[in-house]
Symmetry: C2
Subunit: 140 residues, 2 copies
DNA sequence: TCAAACCTTCACATGAATGTGACGGCCAAC
DNA sequence: GTTGGCCGTCACATTCATGTGAAGGTTTGA
């Protein structure tokens, strides 16, 4: 089997995305990615799917279910190649809802991340020379 | 049973946080919240737990597992009441790791949310009077 | 005193994202 | 032509956040 440049089998995609083959097949089952097939039945992935898989993993990690990812992915593809075919009013409403949910998540994460960062900064300052155990010792 | 102001049983907390009683008990089992107990065995929640529960739900929804939430929650409590007792080097490393993971999530969400918002704006513009199906119809 | 509406614990069920392994086909190198 | 390393499907196992319901105690109000 010869492979074109920019095309790969599941093993290479797995390595390049640090994602188990099992999961790549799962994402396909969920219709997040749709690889071509070689004559022998092997999956045949385009190089661009490397980024696509990373994007999927990022969104999954941020709490989006595959069901939603599947819906928003096509809208993110090419900035201006808009798919109007599936732009039914209900679909648009769903996407708007999801956009707002993402905004909420961003706010929640930012707030808590900042608080955590503040805590870490404070703890680091405390472990400096010239500081006691950290209890209250105000210079009376 | 009389209840002090600012104290409540599981039913009220459930309503005020829009969270099932089952989940409140689950969060307790995971040691995210630790309610007091009345003489009769009923859980006795402080009013401040309303916000706490919302915070937990937000973080869960953003992809954090309860295990991690349990670790970061105490650091977020009072900005300056820092718990140095549990500030072991390993714990700090864990928190830093988690802070960075949150930053990654924020970036991923922001990028995709913005792209989704752009798509929605474009679709809305397309459904304006004076526009065809969306195909190419440049004013030749 | 009885009923309704709380509360308790226990336990089994589910859906989603994953892991793991069995069993077999394809292909390249020796 | 056999061996090893890919690949395919199938299927069962696990973890986590949740739902659901049973069986029983407590409180409140008619």
């Amino acid at each position: 089997m010869k492979y074109e440049v920019g095309r790969m089998r599941i093993g290479e995609l797995s390595e390049r995305t640090n994602t188990s083959r099992r999961l790549l097949r799962y994402y396909e089952e969920q219709e997040l990615i749709i690889p071509a097939r070689c004559a022998n039945g092997y999956r045949d992935y385009d190089e661009r799917l490397v980024d696509r898989v990373m994007q999927i993993r990022g969104l999954l990690d941020a709490g989006l279910p595959t069901r939603i990812i599947k819906q928003i992915l096509p809208c993110l593809d090419k900035p201006r190649i808009i798919h109007f075919a599936d732009a039914t009013p209900e679909m648009i409403a769903t996407l708007e809802l999801e956009r707002d949910r993402m905004t909420k998540r961003i706010r929640c994460l930012t707030r808590n991340r900042d608080a955590l960062a503040d805590y870490l900064d404070a703890v680091r300052d405390d472990n400096r020379p010239g500081s006691a155990t950290g209890a209250d010792d105000s210079p009376a």
